[in-house]
């Protein structure tokens, strides 16, 4: 593909992605009446009332903080346990390894509706209901298998000879892992971190089931936008726009890792 054609194709796609987002932002700046009755590319009566409401209303902004907290917890936990496990799956044969690997993935497959009640009972009985760690832990059910699978894929792309050469050169395993191995799978770690963040951030059902007040996530608060006069579109749109911010920061933060290639340095 010629270079120009490539970028035009990509450009068109990005425009396609941005149009609904643009629409969302526009909705957040319009009144509900305008949203539902007129077709306008730009708000006729621009209003920032919705933004003001969210930033000042104490029932709204804690939702963002709560969500951010448990999601970050989840990312840290997921990466920490997944990295050694992925390494083990990639490099070693052990009893039941293939079955275990597939079993991990099966945990993403269960349809939530009926499973919510048992989850609620389990977490309540352990005494962590309505805490950030509860949601972070519950989400590990799918973020950890995801992390292990993605990381294993990237790790398997690194030739085993590199491990062996490092041992011969006298590296201890932790030093090898941190200074040699991890940089080689940077793009994998970056994309894993982002996906763990993303899936945990948008997950609504479990987060709602396991929290009530203390750790209520933003996604739940947003369901409150149905009022007496129907759905408060503008407010919902505003909440939606603000939801994009933390995730954008995360991808900005890991962008260098995702884009960094496999730089085989001095081994």
């Amino acid at each position: 593909m010629g270079s120009n054609r490539r970028y035009i194709f990509l450009g068109l796609w990005l425009v396609f992605l941005m149009l609904p987002i643009y629409w969302l932002i526009m909705m957040s700046l319009k009144t509900n009446q305008e949203i539902l009755s007129t077709f306008s590319l730009w708000p006729q009566n621009l209003t920032v009332d919705n933004y003001i409401k969210i930033f000042t209303d104490p029932t709204w902004y804690p939702g963002y903080i709560n969500s951010t907290l448990y999601v970050l917890m989840n990312v840290v936990i997921s990466l920490t346990v997944a990295l050694p496990a992925a390494y083990a799956f990639s490099r070693y044969n052990f009893l039941g390894d293939k079955h275990l690997f597939f079993w991990l993935l099966t945990n993403i497959m269960a349809p939530p509706a009926v499973f919510l009640l048992p989850f609620f009972e389990l977490y309540q009985s352990v005494g962590i209901y309505d805490t950030h760690i509860a949601v972070a832990l519950a989400h590990t059910l799918f973020t950890v298998p995801l992390a292990v699978w993605i990381l294993e894929g990237f790790m398997s792309g690194v030739p085993k000879e590199i491990d062996e050469t490092a041992y011969l050169d006298g590296y201890s395993w932790p030093r090898f892992f941190i200074t040699i191995f991890l940089p080689l799978i940077r793009s994998g770690v970056g994309v894993t971190a982002f996906f763990c963040f993303m899936f945990s951030w948008v997950e609504l059902l479990l987060a709602r089931t396991l929290t009530s007040v203390e750790a209520k996530p933003i996604a739940v608060t947003m369901t409150r936008t149905v009022g007496a006069s129907g759905l408060d579109w503008g407010l919902l749109a505003t909440a939606g726009v603000l939801t994009l911010v933390p995730g954008t920061l995360v991808i900005w933060f890991v962008r260098k890792h995702i884009a960094r290639g496999f730089a085989l340095g001095r081994v």
Binding site: P159, E161, I162, E164, T165, L168, L264, R266, V267
Partner: protein, 359 residues
Amino acid sequence: MARIELNNLAHQYAPGGEYALQPMQHVWEDGGAYALLGPSGCGKTTLLNIISGLLTPSQGQVLFGDQDVTRLPPEQRNIGQVFQFPVIYDTMSVFDNLAFPLRNRRLSEDYVSRRVTQIAGMLGLDEVLKRRAKNLTADAKQKISLGRGLVREDVAAVLFDEPLTVIDPHLKWQLRRKLREVHEQLNLTLVYVTHDQTEALTFADKVVVMLAGQVLQVGTPQALFERPEHTFVGYFIGSPGMNFMDCQVEGSEAIVAGERIAVDPAMAAAASESGGQLQLGIRPGLIRPAAADEAGLTIQVDQVEDLGDYELITGHLGEHKIHVRLEESEKIGSDGLKVVFPTEHSLLYADDRLVGGGA
């Protein structure tokens, strides 16, 4: 095969910045095997990339035969390259891997088949031709990498970037020997980058020793061993490296720690004139024990290691640490070891450069 000429070649990664490669002028003969030897960061990989075309030098020219290839990309230079880790096409068999460069040129299947079989035979890959390349050992894969360079009959040169890095230590010598065989059979120009002196010395006809972007010496392994033109060359080559001791020169003698050592008079004269920091260099293996009737000089012995067919003695002469390699076990008296520094092997260095020896 080609004669490689480096014309006033130098490279700065950023204009006005540090020279990754100092200006150099070299001609490498057609069909020679050259090793670029030096520690990490000395510029050998930069030089290799300039020769292969992956990097365009900021000044100077690269010539293959009569052709100026300085600005040509790798695919137009007719080279082969073997990388630090095996680079093969996973989905293809060994045969298809080797055939790939030829098929891309749309040569007849007949020719391809003949050529691949021939090269595979030469490299010892004939048994595995039908197998998936992915499943072979690292050294077999490196042979495939090499093979892809060799299948093209008009290949100008084959370049190696530390190819033995991920090979099992006990297989390294096999692969080195194979490279040597290939070289003798095909008489190709080969350029081999390494930081391992054993690899360089066993592989190459001529070794190019580099340090900090500069070529210190180009010579046969023998020349590098017997007449290193720079103290770094003396130190880097040989195990252990050359001994160096600060000295002064009087007449045709060097004075080290009060002891007088005879050196070549022309060398002594040049050293006196040069006015630089003077050092005496001598290889541990070229120091010989003094015969009963010789005066010699006495080295205080600190340690003796018996390494099988030779002994390595670590000691000091005055304040200078010194190593000596001896063939037989010598009786070492309580007052030290008496040795003689043969004149022909006692070399003088001024500011790290060999004096009167054509630096």
